[in-house]
């Protein structure tokens, strides 16, 4: 019996020590089958607990996601002292609300205003502030976004439906190190009457990456 794990790659002779791990076959195989087979093998070897895998999936499907980030934004909108702490030490201010951990160990908050628009990307892989936004969407991870956000942010934003006037400064944060960036979007007009929870409900994932504004 041949296991379907080995490789999804096409035959390709490659020159690198580090590449020794790739055992190539001619035909791509189904990743679902490969992963299932790999999981079974690692569980059977005692390297992995299948229930721990369930717990990881559960955490990212239900516990971690952009609602976390939205709570931070809403708090910053209603509480000037919190806002100040967020821009002074985002990691600590975010931890006040109970959010922390993997890929959010070192946070920096950047502020959108009428004069400055911030946009986050990672050109080298797809780094993203997981504890606040959950796992990154497909478009954020796409080669096209990674490639174009740094050279043509205005074109990228236009393609995604956001026109930034020429006189507004754009700051692109290419988060290729271990610092993760949270965009604090502008609070929409005519929201004085809203509660913190109501405000949090307005905040979208995309507004915290910087590819959208928050609508009231």
């Amino acid at each position: 019996m041949t296991s379907p794990i080995s490789s999804a790659e096409t035959g390709h002779d490659h020159d690198h020590d580090h590449d020794a791990g790739h055992s190539r076959q001619k035909l791509p195989s189904d990743p679902a089958l490969r992963v299932q087979s790999l999981e079974s093998l690692l569980v059977e070897k005692g390297l992995v607990d299948a229930a721990a895998l369930d717990a990881v999936v559960e955490a990212y499907e239900h516990r971690i996601g952009p609602r976390n980030g939205a709570r931070v934004i809403a708090r910053a909108w209603v509480d000037p002292a919190y806002r100040q702490r967020l821009f002074a030490d985002a990691t600590a201010a975010i931890a006040e609300l109970g959010f922390s951990g993997s890929q959010g160990e070192h946070m920096v908050a950047v502020e959108n205003t009428s004069r400055v628009h911030n946009l986050v990307v990672c050109t080298l892989c797809s780094c993203y502030p997981l504890p606040l936004l959950g796992l990154p969407p497909v478009w954020y991870k796409s080669p096209a976004y990674r490639a174009r956000a740094v050279i043509d942010p205005r074109g990228v934003l236009r393609e995604l439906g956001l026109e930034i006037p020429d006189e507004v400064e754009i700051r692109v944060w290419d988060s290729t190190a271990e610092i993760r960036y949270l965009v604090v979007p502008e609070r929409p007009a005519r929201t004085d009457h809203l509660s913190e929870d109501d405000l949090a409900a307005l905040v979208t994932r995309d507004s915290m990456i910087g590819v959208a504004k928050v609508a009231s």
């Binding site: 296991s3 794990i5 080995s6 999804a8 790659e9 096409t10 390709h12 490659h14 590449d19 020794a20 790739h22 055992s23 990743p31 679902a32 992963v35 299932q36 087979s37 790999l38 999981e39 093998l41 690692l42 070897k45 005692g46 390297l47 992995v48 721990a52 895998l53 717990a55 990881v56 999936v57 955490a59 499907e61 516990r63 971690i64 922390s100 951990g101 993997s102 959010g104 070192h106 920096v108 080298l124 892989c125 497909v138 478009w139 991870k141 080669p143 990674r146 490639a147 740094v150 050279i151 942010p153 754009i170 700051r171 692109v172 290419d174 290729t176 190190a177 271990e178 610092i179 995309d206």
Partner: protein, 219 residues
């Protein structure tokens, strides 16, 4: 390594596949390979930089063809083989070979949430005099290492300004190659968009990158 993963500035990749909402995992196997990678991380047999570098080693035509999580499958299998946690015959047969290695600690379900919530900080409590100060102009070095680096090609040999000293962080260029953490200062550097992309860029726009001290020199 100047490789396809270093995508900043490419113009031939077409439209961004934008969707306003989407499931966390599009297929069940995506969640499983993500979780397998997280559980494997708990073994501490390799580090985050090594796993990033391993995915960079996927040949470019395949890198572009694969989805994000397909690259994670490739990377994990390669690291399991490289560290000897999986043998080629196990991969071929799909069954454990007698006497193959186990590692501790096994991540048990009760430890999953603490593990995620604690994270793995990359700063180090090491005293090191910073070479650069906030406000100082710097120039990035012109390097083309065969190994791993987090200085993107588009930002090499360019002038910028230090806007923040983040403190002392693990150095990915050595850490990815299992040559130690060799921590050093990490700075946030502002580059004018026209410095990077010439006169076609908007004069007031900029790109910010977090760069290790070794990537910088006085201009």
């Amino acid at each position: 390594m100047n490789g396809i993963h270093d995508l900043g500035g490419m113009q031939d990749l077409g439209h961004i596949p934008y969707a306003r909402t989407e499931p966390v995992f599009h297929e069940r196997w995506e969640g499983r390979i993500f979780a397998l990678n997280r559980c494997a991380g708990a073994w501490r047999k390799w580090n985050l930089d090594a796993s990033r570098f391993q995915r960079e080693l996927i040949p470019p035509a395949e890198y572009l063809r694969m989805s994000y999580y397909e690259r994670w499958v490739e990377g994990l299998v390669a690291l399991l083989l490289k560290t000897g946690l999986l043998a080629r015959e196990e991969l071929a047969s799909g069954r454990p070979s007698p006497g193959t290695s186990k590692v501790e600690p096994l991540l048990t379900p009760d430890k999953v949430w603490p593990f995620i919530a604690r994270g793995t900080p990359a700063n180090r409590d090491v005293q090191a005099q910073p070479r650069f100060q906030v406000g100082q102009p710097v120039r990035t070095v012109n390097i083309h290492p065969e190994g791993h680096t987090r200085l993107p090609r588009y930002a090499r040999d360019k002038a910028g300004i230090i806007v923040r000293d983040h403190g002392v962080f693990v150095y990915p260029d050595t850490n990815a190659l299992f040559q130690g953490e060799q921590p050093r200062h990490l700075y946030c550097v502002r580059f004018g968009a026209q410095e990077l992309w010439g006169p076609q860029a908007n004069a007031q726009d900029s790109v910010y990158l977090d760069l290790w001290e070794t990537y910088l020199e006085a201009p």
